[in-house]
Amino acid sequence: MSVAPQAAESRTHYLNADYGIRSWLLTTDHKRIALLYLVTVTLFFAVGGFLAVLIRLELLTPVGDLVSSDTYNRMFTMHGITMVFFFLIPSVPTVLGNFLIPMMIGAKDMAFPRLNLASWYMLLAGGAITLYSLVTGGIDTGWTFYAPLSTTFSNTHVIPAAVGILIAGFSSIFTGLNFIVTIHRMRAPGMTWFRLPLFVWAHYAASLIMVLGTPVVAITLVMVALERGLHIGIFDPRLGGDPILFQHMFWFYSHPAVYIMILPSMGVVSELVACFARKRVFGYPFVAFSSLAIAVFGFLVWGHHMFVSGQSVYAAMVFSLLSFLVAIPSAVKVFNWTATLYKGSIAYNTPMLYAFGFIGLFTIGGLTGLFLASLGVDVHVTDTYFIVAHFHYIMVGGVVMGYLGGLHFWWPKISGRLYPEGFAKLAALIIFVGFNLTFFPQFILGYLGMPRRYHAYPEEFQVLNVMSTAGASVLAVGYLLPFAYLLWSLRYGPVAGPNPWGAKGLEWETPSPPPTFNFDHPPVVVEEAYAYHGGQEDDVVA
């Protein structure tokens, strides 16, 4: 290291500015709130991951022998709910976005710091209520809450889970609102829109979806609870209701929600690729606008979840056509990242390995999406393991890879310490291998016709399921490693300087960990994002 790291303990920063539990639970500092979120989503990831392990163990054999079918149904429902609503949707925005966006645009804090804290409490409260439904007997509707199973036939704790998700939904709405206002109103002098890091663009696009989409699922869940409590016929066909209407309202949010998850991770990857290739991102405006295009077009395609639902044939065709269109901006991003590598100066640090992993897995996940947008093939593979594999490639292969890459990349900024590079590279490798071993066989299972959410399955599917379970155990080890060494590094990691990667961006111009109001002197921006010049001067880490 060429820059002598200043000892973090000798100066005041956001971590040592104040002590005690109150200073955390009542903080309005976006960086501290980000850490509160980090702990919370890690907890939910652990719950969801534990359930995933149990699910895979059950599927080791064709007969349902480990748990009863009722238990199995509760497990995959809770796995889906915690992972989607309490891990994937909040993960990158509330942890990395919260920590970085004010710093990246040169602001002292988010526009609404108290609202930011309130959002965390909402996520916590929503999660607590949802976990309450788990410990008091669980819920067995699947995370999709399809009526009339959820409204009339299930006799599990649907209402508490719906209320929990509703509250978490408002956490998400207020987070998105906060980001949009912050990005519009809090930028430092000179920080024009086209100087914003792509990470910020991606969060802006994701925030639009949070604000515009989440309220619809919120009111839908209110109606599910009303229908369940009062039997008023909104979704009950015996009383004149239409269960397909529930699916429309649910997917109006829940399809764009996929982009709430993936867009912020795409933003992370743009930062990683630029930094470790020492290059400005190829086609910056195209990458920026493709985020917005995804956010807008993402709202027009929800019907592709309903091709066999009894939806109109013509509506299905329109939704299919639009689904192909939304694939284009995603492809544009992948091509631009690839082009960014061209004639770069590429380092293989752990975050970059995650970025490579993201590009590979997202490519597979995205391209298999084309199978599902194609009406003729979707009829065969929908509701099978093909779907399960596809969305895990996007959500785990994409989102979690981006999240871990970003967490490693900004870990020195967050904690002031470097993580152990050797262990981290090993973990990244294990996760990549374990992930593919877990989920690639599921594509084949899906085309063979194994339906999802099956507790027991015909014998001929066993070999592929065993492969998948084996992969899941590798994956579990891969996820435990960062948990261990990141904690370890808090105490024993080498002290990081303000900019251990030689990266560009305002967050790297302030000390690590940053002071409470982010900058000792208000920054003024004079150059574009990713103004890498190519010389050795940037090269801090050999």
Binding site: P148, G376, Q536
Partner: protein, 332 residues
């Protein structure tokens, strides 16, 4: 554990080949782009690694490249769209003259009713080489009729008929799955579609039909529920004439026309107030919850079997009207 590693499902319907052809096109396109991206990323990552290439070369974007990698994928995906849509359209239009079978699903079983009166649970016998059309309804939650070897799937809804059709091409026994999660024993809601040679199918048909044809049972129900007091089929009767009704347009009170299809007839029985025929009073009581889904299907089969020239309620004991032997039956 039997060590079998299947990689590709049976192709046992006329639709399977079409779906698989598109699938292989999709595989080829996606494999090409995956390999293209993986190889390029790896090649750049190795060639421009920092130890060999310490000074990066900065560049702006390139408009021609951006256009190229937007338009080429768009073109390829439009082929996928048109191809997939045409298959989907065929899947959703059952051909004329298909063999009509009814299905009722409930937590957690499949019930099939043949026109001759054979009933099966979790097993469906069909002849090879003949179009088969299922009209399906659920008694409770949403289920989904899925036969992987046929590459067809359709959700089965409560309160509304959906249809699916296929033509099996190979005799054998194939998995039938419920593909829409339906509660506790979802994974147990499985069965078998048995595809038989026509001759064997005939033998099977002449087997167990003990309870009279579907239409005949419908006729009995029609009388038991006293439908025939109003739907007498003569002038001055309080309900519309049902003979020859099926498939014909009907003018409703509001002045709009609807076609009397499966759904119309079902809705008119369970929720008569909504679709009152022009010129009639809304006096028919609702039969919601009073007739089982199977009963409704029997009534439907009976009403479909009534032909315009015949009287609506033939003398008791007469043979069930219209040809109900599947081999010669023409659905309207």
């Amino acid at each position: 554990m039997r060590f079998t590693l299947p990689l590709f499902p049976d192709e046992a319907s006329t639709m399977a080949g079409r779906v698989d052809a598109l699938y292989f096109y999709l595989l080829a396109v996606t494999a090409f782009f995956s390999v293209l991206i993986f190889v390029t990323v790896l090649a750049f990552a190795v060639k421009y690694r920092r130890s060999k290439h310490p000074v990066p070369v900065q560049m702006e974007g390139s408009m021609p490249l951006e256009v190229a990698w937007s338009v080429i994928p768009l073109g390829l995906s439009m082929v996928m769209f048109v191809w997939g849509a045409s298959i989907f359209f065929s899947m959703n239009r059952p051909p004329r003259g298909a063999l009509q079978i009814y299905a009722v699903s409930k937590q957690w079983m499949w019930k099939f009713e043949h026109l001759d009166g054979q009933r099966e649970i979790n097993q469906l016998h069909v002849p090879v080489g003949r179009d088969v059309r299922l009209t399906m309804i659920s008694q409770d939650v949403i289920h989904s009729f899925y036969v992987p070897a046929f590459r067809v799937k359709q959700d089965v809804l409560p309160g509304r008929y959906t249809t699916i059709w296929f033509q099996a091409t190979k005799p054998g026994s194939y998995h039938l799955f419920c593909a829409e999660y339906c509660g506790t024993n979802h994974s147990g809601m499985i069965g078998q579609v048995v595809v038989m040679e026509p001759a064997q199918y005939q033998i099977w048909l002449s087997g167990g039909a003990g309870e009279g044809s579907l239409a005949a049972n419908g006729q009995k129900l029609f009388r038991d529920l006293a439908c025939d007091t109003c739907h007498r089929g003569d002038t001055g009767s309080r309900g519309p004439d049902l003979a020859g009704l099926f498939g014909k347009p009907v003018t409703l009170q509001a002045g709009n026309k609807v076609v009397a299809d499966d759904s119309y007839i079902r809705d008119s029985i369970v929720n008569p107030a909504n679709k009152v025929v022009f010129g009639y009073q809304p006096i028919m009581p609702t039969f919601q919850g009073q007739i089982s889904e199977e009963g409704l299907l029997q009534l439907l089969a009976y009403i479909k079997s009534l032909e315009a020239s015949k009287t609506a309620a033939p003398a008791p004991g007469a043979a069930p009207p219209a040809a109900v032997v599947p081999q010669t039956r023409k659905t309207k």
